[in-house]
Structures are given as structure tokens and as C-alpha cells.
Symmetry: C2
Subunit: 700 residues, 2 copies
Amino acid sequence: MKISSRVRLSWPAVFGVLLALGPVTVRSDEGMWTFHNPPVQQLKERYGFNLTTEWLDHVRLASVRFNDGGSGSFVSPHGLVLTNHHVAMGQLQKLSTSGKNYARDGFYARTRGEEIKSPDLELNVLISMQDVTARVQDAARKQTSEAEALQARKAEIARIEKESLDSSGLRSDVVSLYGGGEYWLYRYKKYTDVRLVFAPEQQIAYFGGDPDNFTYPRYCLDMALFRVYENGGPVESKHYLKWNPGGAEAGDLVFVSGHPGSTERLKTVAQLEAERDHHLPMMIRVLNRRLETLKRYGQRGSEPARQAANQILSIENALKAFKGELDGLLNPGLMKKKMKEEAEFRTLVAKNGDLESRYGGAWDELRLAQAQELERAKETFFRTLRGARLPTMALTLVLYSQEVEKPDGERLDGFHESQLESLRFRLLSPAPVYPELEIELLADSLNESLEQLGPNDAFVKAVLQGRAPVEVAKELVQGTKLTDPAFRKTLLEQGKSAIAGSKDPAIELARRVEPAVREIRKWHETKVESLTASAGEKLGKARFAVYGRSIYPEATFTLRLAFGTVKGYPMNGTLAPPKTTFFGLYDRARSFALKPPFNLPERYDQKRDQLALATPFNFVSSADIIGGNSGSPVINRAGAIVGLIFDGNIESLVGNYIYYEETNRAIAVHTAGMTEALKKLYGAAALVDELAGDARQASQ
Amino acid sequence: MKISSRVRLSWPAVFGVLLALGPVTVRSDEGMWTFHNPPVQQLKERYGFNLTTEWLDHVRLASVRFNDGGSGSFVSPHGLVLTNHHVAMGQLQKLSTSGKNYARDGFYARTRGEEIKSPDLELNVLISMQDVTARVQDAARKQTSEAEALQARKAEIARIEKESLDSSGLRSDVVSLYGGGEYWLYRYKKYTDVRLVFAPEQQIAYFGGDPDNFTYPRYCLDMALFRVYENGGPVESKHYLKWNPGGAEAGDLVFVSGHPGSTERLKTVAQLEAERDHHLPMMIRVLNRRLETLKRYGQRGSEPARQAANQILSIENALKAFKGELDGLLNPGLMKKKMKEEAEFRTLVAKNGDLESRYGGAWDELRLAQAQELERAKETFFRTLRGARLPTMALTLVLYSQEVEKPDGERLDGFHESQLESLRFRLLSPAPVYPELEIELLADSLNESLEQLGPNDAFVKAVLQGRAPVEVAKELVQGTKLTDPAFRKTLLEQGKSAIAGSKDPAIELARRVEPAVREIRKWHETKVESLTASAGEKLGKARFAVYGRSIYPEATFTLRLAFGTVKGYPMNGTLAPPKTTFFGLYDRARSFALKPPFNLPERYDQKRDQLALATPFNFVSSADIIGGNSGSPVINRAGAIVGLIFDGNIESLVGNYIYYEETNRAIAVHTAGMTEALKKLYGAAALVDELAGDARQASQ
């Protein structure tokens, strides 16, 4: 389970831009390829597959980004979108109440009338891609300092996005690839009327719970179906993936089209060491603490447990991922390989006088950036309002009211003209807020900031004003009206003066901390981000010069194509199989005597005799994926869907830094398993009919 | 699968006596306890279990040693003995012909008349145990050199064994425990009329083959049933384990009574380093080479494949074990722990002037012994006739004819008066010899000796006489009459002069190599064995002095009691369950699309609907076992049998050196699974009736 793109995605924002450094030696099934630089040659040489523009366009237009951190795809001509239960989990949680727990019990709309609208789900479909490298880099080149260059780049990006938005009406994002070696304008069709159609019980979607998460063999029906509406009716989705109910077979070439969140494969050795020795251990400590708080809260009763459930899953998932990554970095073999690659890259740059003079200084710049980052790492991390939703919304409102007054190019990231619509959509979400949980989370994070920064830190002083964290948290949560989306809307519309004058305790607190937050952000931008951006661009260009352009960039939560073979791998002394079956689900459940998290929903016992137990359930392939790819379709040569990515194996966690074809596996739900379950267990024949409408063509 | 006690057991013979060195810190479920020093206190404290003499006596007398390398137990009052298919494999192979492949296809005697006699299977039941430490140590104390002391010990042991044999008629073995800190006379009731009753297909006994071997979760019906006869009729086995068809459950306290072959938990750090850097890598090279030879031979056709099958299994098993052990030793954590323990032990010895002066020199003696051993390690290993059976029998005959002329105490190990009956039984086995396979194995081992020792080595010169290994091998195998057991019997009876004058080419070759073989054996005894024996005794005594006597000795293929809990363990990022079910068998088979070694015997598809798939099939416990324990019963508090040990998990391979309770697991077939399979798949209701005759009492 890879909810974690959400967690992952907050990471670069805190620790600086991801960098494209060092050499890439692409061979085998490695790579998360952009659709404008697809692995045409690799597929031809390795698989004899002819990757056509038609195939690529079709797959791209059928692929969907879940803006809250996952992927999906259109699977019917009437707007049906398939993703994971755990990607849908955020919405399921928000749609649930103390009376109806869709997140736990699942949901099935037998008619369109029963489909229910998600409170704040935005889906994106990538419509076009345009190279804007020259514009962005030219803007920076005229500047004399790195800080000015960073500013100029950001301003130019904002300008491009705004122009594009105005001219096309499409969501327009400039994406930095190859550490700034390239910039691309991605335009997205945006959908915000997205309705829930089907979700199974969480028990079966997440069978095996935290223990089985990120492992294989696996037995999870981690699926959910939404329907995209436009103008009140289902969208006619011309580009959708045909359902292949036979599904993937061992040895098949398969593709994954989705939105990997982030990778750190090209970080320098020094950066990886900092990750290993500072950032990851700190993240793990922070998350362990938050997990404890959530679990303590959940123990108060069934309703608190329900409220905390999604966040607990999310954090357990992130923790397991981070620990796997840390284990990877602690493996001397990995570091040795990274050192060797870096040494080779540096040698190749040094050999060429021109390259050396232009780019050779990048490693020192990065070392400097990193040394500076560590100087104020705690403030960077703990001078934030985090964990709870209300104070975060308040701070967003306060910053918003000031940022929108500035010229677009000078605003903080996240407040550019082109980003405002999505920001407003999230900010005005009608999703429920749980006040008691808010108090716990805010009190805990304030306590943590106090412990980490001490009472004399500017942020701590401003936020606590000498009081106890829990008092501050209670006062804020109990006093604020921000739980009401209408109140947020009013503030948003009234703008700067209204927010500056608001007596709402959340807004007041946000105003108090604003200077300290801005100060550390500015400091980070000047001392860290500008250096890493400049060095990143240098190394990106050096890499192009040395290794050519047939390489893939780090993941950026933008659309990528991966490919691989359905195959097992050596595991713990034996072999992991290419696929699993329903037999295995019942074995694992019984082998733990049905104790949670290995218990099964009732229907799985009641209707067992109707199931063809040998039906494939989950399967693995060597396709190169990472958090954010959750919900991605697995696609066959014919462009039909044969599976649904929902996880990576434990051996793939190190994939954040390095891809090992022998053991790195993407785990997917098999289309045969989904078909069998929908039909035999959920009485969802109508859905199967819609999916398999043209199964005959798809299986060709 | 742990056939390997056979391989294991040849190891100490080559590399010297196993030593009991360093401290033992027994806690938790660790330990392979002798029945004369059982873990009474641990069981009381940890499990509240009162281990009585009655319980111990009953279990001991129901326990059976398979002299060709495994364990078993009486499970009915009429001589039925349960063991593993892979322990029975040697006999199954010997009973098979090109027409009837019992090893592959299984066997079931529906009536007593159909039960077939094993050609050379000797079973032992431990009747009594007597401490003879004083006699043996006193004999040695009077000597002035270590070589003389060794000789005196051996002579005294032979005397004790002979006396006991004469007075009791029982097989009498003096066992060295605690590295010579104690000597015990074990008397065995010996059975040699052992008839095959039931074996399933090898496919299901060894489901998952080499990949799944030594791993878990597992799905193997690794069982076989023999019946012990005496005087032409089934023996009335008063002491047998009652069959508990419910079997073990998660959380249960269980016991394992069996014959662990050898362990090296108390070796010094220097010895472990030699193991890691020399012995294990050499063994792995040697076995890889033999495996290749066997596989090449097996590829000639189905009959050659049948002939080589058992040895291939055996070697694959040993290789996987050795590789696991080597991995363990290459783990710096393990070595660090061993160093720490050794340092603590030495400090405790050094603190006590008396101990230091008596035993403190042992470490240096061992270092010397080891340095000397490495000087001629290759000759020790490669100056032997190995791999093929005919030359080995010839050499045994030649040595036998001379050794029996000497006073008992001066003979080579293996030729003492008390050992002759078992030796003759093996030597006169009617088991088939496969001449073509003999040629391949002998030629290969001669080639290997030539390559390792060079053409001028005394052994190589004597054996080859300048000819090519394959020529020598062909001449020997094609010319010898040793394939005929009657011919061997004649030679054995005619004795020294007949063997000295024989023109049989195998005997001639054995005579030629005899001096070189004796020379290196003698050298090894003087330079290595006598030192390690003396140092071992010192350290054994030092350990008693420092840590007391409530410790268990290294495994010695004698009867031991282990105990533990039925429980899963953390594995590869998730949890391994306490048990598996038949569901899992079908899952694993299908998950590999029924490709060997994951294919199933026909009846498993045909009769699947009749099986209760949720029936437990295999399970794990924390009982401390090792190679040789194969076939051991798993016993509950009431003394009933609840399972059948057949393997350890991959994490237990390091158990040769260290026991980790968190991950070390013994794998067993569940009695419920055996009952279900016998009844529903094999139509062996009569057997189930015999087993479950008094199931009601057993489940109490």
C-alpha cells in the first residue's frame, strides 16, 4: 500500500528540491519514463515491442491523477475510474459518519442515482506537454546571484502557467525535470465532480494490514471505482482502457501508467548520507510520535477509532516505507555502488575542461547547501503548524490573503495564479473535521515543537505565548469557526483586511506564527533551495552531456510509463510466485486463525463455495514504480487493462534510491480476481458488464 | 528437509571432534537437552510444566533413531514407526527398480503381507544411559602426552563398549559430551527388520523442491510409515506416542524428541573463522562439483535420473544448509556476539588462578591444532575414496581385515568390537549398486583429488598409477564383484589373507591407497585430534566450573529433548503464520501454474473436493532442532504426538552456531493434515484407525 505519496510529497517541500545528480545507467526494466521521452528503444530491443504514438496517446488520456496522492484510469466509456481502496480511503473517510462507515464496510451504488459525490477529490488527465526549458533557463541566466536566479525561474514559471491557464482554461503546471535540466508545461483536464461507485470492505482491501503492507505474496482486493461527472452527467470517456478479464500471465510484458510521487535515485552520496543520518531518522521519530497520539485517541472508543483510522494507516504505511529506505541506505553495498557511480560521473566531467568549468562546482555547492540546511534543520521542520487540519487551513488563509496581493512571480509556491483554483477547492472542502482529534494532534505537534526548538524560539513563543500546548490547542479548536466551510469561504472572499482583522482564534494564531514561518521559509530558500536548484541544473546538464538524453528523470508526481515482466523473484531462501490465488487468501486467513488483520468479511465465508479458488488474485511484475503509483493500471501490449497496482514488495522500498531488477516488484490486483469478486461476492454483475462490455476486443 | 545429518555427520570425522568451548547462556526455548540432564527448571519457570521421570522415560522409549541419519517414533502398539519421507528416501530408493519407483510414486501396504523389508535400515531405541566419565578420564590422566591420552581414552571407550555389549547384548556406544567434559554409555535396542508401510508421492512429500527446502510457509506431506518386526512378526511396542488428530495449536507448548546430528555453537572464534574462510567454502565447492556430476548423469535418461535422484536431493539439501551457515558466519553481528561471549568466558577463567592454570592453555592448543590442520587440510579432505559406493566398500573391507586382528582399544574408529555388527549390516546390504553412476562418481572424485593434490601425492599416485581417472574408475566398476553382497560376505568371512590376496580390482585399488589413507588419518589424529580433544576437555571442564552444569551439550546424533511454543515469526517484512493449511498448498501450486517443483500428484486434483481445505497442514515452533532431527515427533504436554518435524526455516540455518528464539523455527507436518490426507486422499483408513486407535485418550 502506497498511500504515502502524500507523505512523500510533503518531503521535498521541506527539504528542498529533488536533485538530478550523478550518472544514470538505464538498462533492464528500470525507469519511470515521461511520455515525451518514452523507452522506445528499450522496448524494441528487450521485448520486440513497437511503442507507437497512438498507443501512448491512448494510454495517457486514459490515465488519471488523483490529486490527493494516487493514480487511476478510465475503464469504461461512461466515466468509470478504477483506483485503489487505499487511494479512495481519504474520500471514503470523509464521506463516512459515525453511522455509516464506508471506509470500513465498503459501498456499492447499484444505480447511478446511488453514486455519491466525493467532497474534495480532484482528478487530472494530462492533455498536453510542451518543452519550456529555454524560457525558464533564459530567465535565470540573466541574473547575477543564485537567489535572484531562483526567483527569476519561479517568476517565469508562474508567468508560463498563468498564460497557459488563460489561453486554454486547463490546469497548467510547469514541471522541473532532471533537476532543472528541463522544464515542461503540463496541461491537465481537471475533474471535481467525482462520485463513489464501489469499494469493498477495508478488511479485504487491506487484508494482512500493516504486517503484510509492502510485502508479497499478497491477497488484497485493493480496488475502488469512481465515476467522473461533468455538467451533472457521467463524462463520456472516449479514451478508456478495455477490461481484459483474463488478466496478466507469467512472462507477459506489461506497462504501468501512473504518477510516481518522488524518487531520490540521483542524489549525491553526501545527500544520501544526510538522508541516512539525519532526515530519515528524524522523520521516523516524528511519525512514530504522531502514530502514538492517533492510536491513543483511537482507543477512546469506536467513533474515535473510526476518525483516526485513515491517518493511522497512512502513517504506518509511511513508517514502513521510511524504515525500508533507511535499511537500504544502511546497507554498505548500496552506498558503495552509489560512490562508484558518483566517482565515475565526476571523472567524466573532470576529463572535459569545458564541462568541468561550467558544472564541476556543483558538488561543492551541494555540500555547502547541505551543511547550511543542517544548521537549521530543526527549525525547518518544526516551525510549522502540522498534523491538525484547522490550524493548517488558518495559516493557508493568512498566507493566501497576502500572497494574492503580490505580483504572481513573487508569490510563495502554492499561491501562484494557476494554482489558486485547486487550492480553493481543497480549502473549501466540506469534508468533516473531528474537533477532539484536532485538539490531540495540534497539542501534540505544539508540544513537539516546544521540545525540539525550546521555549525561546520565535515560532514557539508566538504560538504558545507562554501557555501549555494543550490549552492553546483547545482554545483554538473550540473557538474557531473554520470547521464550517461557509465561514472559510467568506474569509477567502473578503480577503486581506478581513483576515487581518479576524478574531477567530485559529486565524489569530496563524497571524501570530506567520512571521516566524516566513522567516524560516525565506532562509531555506536563500541558503538551501537556491543553491540546490542551481547545482541541480548544472548536474542535470552535465549528465545530459556525459550520458546523453535517453535517461528518465526523478519521479515528480507527474505521468510516467514503466514496463516490465510478470515474474516471481528470489525471496527469503525460496521463490516468490508470479501470482497468487484466492486459495492463498483463505490459507493466510486460516493460518492466523482469522485473527485481525487476517480476518475476512463475512461474505468471504458465506460465498466461498461459489468462488473459483484458483482464480488469480494478486500478481507481481518488474515494472519500476513507487509511492503515488497506487491505483495505476497494469496494461498489456494491446493497451487493455490486466491489473491494478497497489503496492511494492519490501525489496522495492530501496527503490527510492536504486532499482534492482532481480527483486524489485510492483504488486497488482489481477483483473481476473476483481472480476470474480465483483461477480460472485458482491453481486455487482452490472459493474462487470460495464467493465467487460467489450472484453472480446480487449483480450485480443 | 534435513537429510543432511548424513552429510553433517561425516564432517566431524574429517575435521576433528566437535568442541565444547566458550560460555553457554541458556535462556528461552534454546537447547537440545540430554534425557539425563533435562530442562526441568526452564519448563517449570517458563511454562509451568512439570517434567516427570515417567513422561521422559515414555517419550525416550517411543523415540527411534534411524541409523542412516534421521529420527522417528513409535506411533502404534504394533510397531508402526513414523518418520519423514526424506528420511525413508534412502530405503525407498534402494527398494525401487527401473520398473517400480517407490521413491517417486509412493507406496501403501494395505495388508501386513504387502509390507516390504528395507535392505539396510537399522533403528535404535535408547534403553539406558550411564555416566562413565570417571573411567574414561582416569584412563587418560595417567598418560604423559596428548597423543597417548587420546589413545588411552579411545581404548577405554572400546573396553566399556565391549563389556556392555557382552553383558547386555545391546548396542553400546560411549558418547562424548561437553567436548569430553562428560562420557556416557548409551545402550540401544537395535532393530534391523524394518518394513515399509506407507509413503506418499515424492512430489507432495517434497512439495516446492529445492527452492522451498529450508523455508516456510510450507506445504509438505513429508511422512513415511515403517513397521518394526522382530522374530518375523510386528514388535509389540508398549511405548508408543498416542496420536492426537487435532494436532498442535498456536500458543501450545510442544516438545521434540529426536537425534540432532551436530552443532558448532561452542566453537572458538578462531575455529569459526576457519569454518567461514576455509572449511565451508571448500565443502560448498566439493558439493557443487558432485551435484553437477549427478545432474549430468541424470540427464542421460529417466532411469539414470531415477538412480541419481536421492543423492541430488541430499546434496542440494546440504548445499543450502552450508550456504545458510556461511551467510550466518559472514554476518558481522554473529561474530561480534561470539567474540563477546568468548572474551567473557576467558575473563572468568583468568580470574580464577586454579582454573587458569588447569584450563587457560586450551585456547592456544586449539589455535595450534587449527594451524596444523590447515597445513594439510587438502590431504585430509581429498585423500579419500568418496562419492561412489564400491571403492568405499572395498576400502572398508581392507581396513576391516586388518583392524579386527588388533586389540580392540588400538583399532581405528568404526572398527571397535561393539561397532562391528552395525558395520557388517551396512556392508552386506542387498541395496542395488548402479555401475554407470559409480563410474561417474568415482572418476569425478579421482579427478578432483588429482586437481587438488597434484600428480605426485602419495594417494593420487597409488590410486591412478599414472592413468586417467575415468579409466581407473571404469576398470574398477566393470571388473569388481563387490556389487554382489554374497561376494562381500565371503571376503568378510575369509578375512585378512583372502583380502590381501584378492585380485578383485576394487580390493586391489583399496589396498594400494591404504597406506596413504592411514598416513593422513594418523597425522590428523596426532596433530589435530589429540590437541582438540585435550583442549576440548579442558574447556568443557572450565565451562562447568564457571557456568555450572545446567547447560546442554553440542548435538551428537544422540537422543535429545527440545521444547518450544507453536508460533509464527517476523519474516521478510511481515509475519510468518504459526501454521499453514491445504488451501495454501493449492495456492502455491497454482501460483506457479503447477510447474515443477510446484506440481501436485494427480489425486490432489481428483480428490480435492473431498478435502477440508482449512485443515492445518504444516506448522512451526520455536523448538531448537537441527539436521538429524528429521522425523522427530512433536509432542504435547500429555505426551501425545501432534506433529512430525521435517525441516527448519531459512533463519534456523545459522542455528548450527547460534539459536535466535525470535526467528529460529522447526517446521513440522501437522497430525490433522496427515490424518486428513491418509483418509481422504490415500484411502488409508485402516492406517488412520491404527494410529487413532486411542485418539480419545491422546487428545486429553
